[in-house]
Amino acid sequence: MRDFLLAKLGHTLIVMFCVLTLVFVVLHLTGDPVMMMLPSNASREEIDALTRSLGLDRPLIVQYGRFLARVARGDFGVSLQHQQPAMGLVAERLPASLLLAGSALGLALVVALPLGIFAAARRGTVLDHLAVGLAALGQSAPIFWTGLMLMLVGAVILRLLPTSGYGTWQHLVMPALTLASYPMAAMARLVRSGMLEVLDADYVRTARAKGLPERWVVLKHTLKNAAMPIVTVVGLQFGLLLGGAIVCEMIFAWPGVGRLMIFAIYNRDFPLVEAAVFVMALVFVLANLLVDLCYAWLDPRVKLRA
């Protein structure tokens, strides 16, 4: 177990280094923050002065070296647009992002599990087709459309919920529903197909032959064995939800990391993008680690080795 964790830590460091390098190169080669900071009618003299004071006139390799040295000390620098420490700005928004991604994932699970199990247990019936159809709809509707439709119905027409913003549980409902629609559908389909596979297995037949009630067979013997792929997807989805919440955060004015990052990318706010990508990559890697640990918990045959 200890070796496993140490090896994982090594992997994590390599992944984070690669991510940071990639982000650094792509950002620095594709845009210039100085022009985004200054008014459109700035003079050349003004542009050069600001470029110098930000150290952006140095060769790229020198900037990269300085960047790595700073990151190694845990210093992501000061945001060019906000003039505040970049990591602090990301940390401020992280709770909102985690809350949204966590709620969406929870919601997705709560709906997808029963729906998938139900559809599998009633294979071929009208209800099964309905569930599969619903899942296909959820997976194919683009998130901006789902979000705007929810806003139109829930806030503008029915006046049940606030249109956008942050602060109370009512503010959370529509963004979480919007964000949950895709993973909900994906997971429902996965649960259904996983269950179908296991429902035909020998041990399930044995369980039935022993005269166990069908509910017991499905929940105890089938679900746990069908859970492995679901856990994988849940882990991956959490990472995706955190990063993929950008559209949802823009529509519902949710103060998360995604929205901060998208404006930072527009403005080529190098330190801020680097800090935000670092945090998101870290969450993604950690979610994967958690999935690995869950495997061992679910299936005693899996051994955690380096």
Partner: protein
């Protein structure tokens, strides 16, 4: 074991919920304004975008400001009067008995401190507006002389735009610039209360404001990036004023019954900059042909629902130097074809048309419409879409091929600001049109006007230069756009040509 893991996970989730869900702001008879983006700073020397400036204009005062009924005309604010002492010196008499929100007195030292900051290069974003200033001299506690290197006819106007907000010297020395940027102190009608990033900025009325206490006691500024969500927040009553309503949403606001749109002409001119350094676009006839080929009226009607007026030069009718005799190029495809033939391109030319996608209102659609119109006269257009910082880099290096969409404007409401700051020596667009290089008549007119204090001569020079600008067509002239805000019917609010939201003038009916 499993139960413990489950319990701990659940506990963590609940704890997160509790931390992440603070109580919402109480609203009542307060005012909520929704803008398209959150502010990035409250230090008025560190930002120039209007959503940031709107906060600055309410927390701080400047020496002078624009007359709301006649934008471009100066009225006193913290200065009570000003005069030119000699060609290089402007003297300001300051308002007495004014203090900053922290009790610090406003006086000539504060003005000198502010000017010293403004003329320091490379540490903030507004240096360009004040680069003509050499120094500020304190004459007495309420008199300041501002000395320029060369005569500067628009010096006073510079203080009405961005960066002109007067800063509190003692407070900034006491904290530092970084703290100041998140906990600002000014002399303005509203005091800063709190800023929850990407969620809200809260201001409260300054009861001892020198013009008298403002009518609305508490104002919340909310960033709502999505255009539809802003309109929904307004009609639902979650916001009382919203900015940047897109023309397609106007009917929705009007149909709701609770709200109205407030629109007015701004000084932003939408044009395609033309890189005229070489190739066919170096020929004025080709550039004129492009101007004749585009049906501006149709574009304004179809893409902007009429919220714009066509222009014949890059100078808007709000600015000093505007020449009313210059009319927009009429839509005349036959004339365009003829000009291309005369220029030696009877079989047409290749032209790149570039814009962002969402940087300017309907920019991609605009480029597509223009491309179709140019195709009709034999131009072979190639439409490209740029990401914001890519676009900025092309502008900076003057390397964009063909046409690039832009909407320059002057913060001083002056031809110098909208044209010569960009095109003059040292301006970022100086290279792209040889017609403004040193030795050309255009250069002479603009340089002369820049340093003369004789208003009549400046006007003559600018109007003559505008004629050259029109004839030589270094831009594809499109339109001067309108600003569209919306407000709830119970709120007294009027959109201003300078795009500012001045809370002091807003009230409930």
């Amino acid at each position: 074991m499993r139960r413990t893991v489950l319990a701990v996970t659940l506990g963590l989730c609940l704890a997160l919920l509790a931390v992440a869900l603070p109580a919402g702001p109480a609203i009542g008879q307060d005012l909520v304004i929704a803008q398209g983006a959150d502010i990035t700073t409250l230090d008025p020397t560190q930002a120039t975008q209007i959503h940031n400036l709107n906060l600055f204009y309410n927390i701080y005062d400047a020496l002078v400001t624009w007359d709301p009924k006649d934008i471009g005309k100066l009225v006193p604010e913290l200065a009570v009067s000003w005069r030119s002492v000699d060609p290089l010196t402007w003297q300001f008499k300051l308002r007495q008995g004014v203090s900053f929100h922290n009790g610090e007195p406003f006086n000539a030292d504060a003005v000198k401190f502010t000017v010293d900051r403004l003329i320091t290069k490379g540490v903030h974003q507004v240096y360009g507006g004040f680069s003509t200033i050499e120094r500020a001299d304190v004459v007495d506690a309420y008199t300041v002389n501002i000395v320029t290197a060369k005569p500067d006819p628009i010096l006073v106007k510079r203080f009405a735009g961005y960066g002109g907000q007067i800063l509190p010297p003692q407070y900034i020395k006491q904290v530092d610039w970084k703290t100041f940027a998140i906990k600002p102190v000014g002399t303005g009608p509203y005091k800063f209360v709190e800023w929850v990033k990407d969620d809200r900025v809260v201001l409260e009325a300054n009861p001892t404001y020198w013009r008298g206490a403002p009518k609305i006691k508490k104002v919340v500024w909310r960033p709502i990036p999505d255009n539809f969500a802003r309109v929904a927040a307004l009609t639902r009553g979650e916001a009382q004023i919203i900015t940047k309503v897109i023309p397609d949403h106007v009917s929705q606001v009007e149909k709701a019954g609770c709200c109205r749109v407030e629109h007015t002409l701004t000084n932003l001119v939408t044009v395609y900059l033309i890189n005229a350094q070489k190739g066919p676009l170096a020929n004025p006839k080709v550039r004129q042909a492009l101007n004749y080929a585009v049906d501006k009226d149709k574009i304004i009607k179809e893409l902007y629902r009429g919220y714009a007026i066509p222009i014949g030069s890059g100078i808007p009718n709000t600015d000093f130097g505007y020449n009313a005799k210059i009319k927009p190029y009429p839509y005349d495809p036959a004339r365009a074809r003829q000009l291309l033939t005369e220029a030696g391109y009877p079989s047409g030319v290749d032209v790149d048309i570039q814009s962002g996608n969402g940087i300017h209102l309907n920019d991609r659609q605009l480029s597509e419409a223009v491309a179709v119109m140019l195709q009709d006269v034999g131009v072979r257009p190639k439409v490209g879409v740029l990401e914001p910082s890519q676009r900025s880099q092309l502008l900076r290096t003057n390397t964009f091929p063909g046409l690039l969409l832009a909407d320059p404007a002057s913060t001083t409401y002056d031809t110098d600001g909208v044209i010569w700051r960009l095109r003059g020596p040292g301006g970022i667009l100086h290279q792209i049109w040889p017609g403004n290089y040193e030795g050309t008549p255009f250069y002479k007119l603009m340089e002369e006007a820049r340093v003369t204090l004789d208003t009549a001569k400046r006007l003559r020079n600018y109007q003559e230069a505008a004629q050259i600008w029109h004839d030589e067509a270094p831009e594809l002239f499109l339109f001067q756009g309108e600003l569209i805000d919306a407000a709830r019917n119970e709120v007294k609010y009027q959109a201003r040509g300078d795009q500012r939201i001045i809370l002091y003038d807003v009230s409930y009916r």
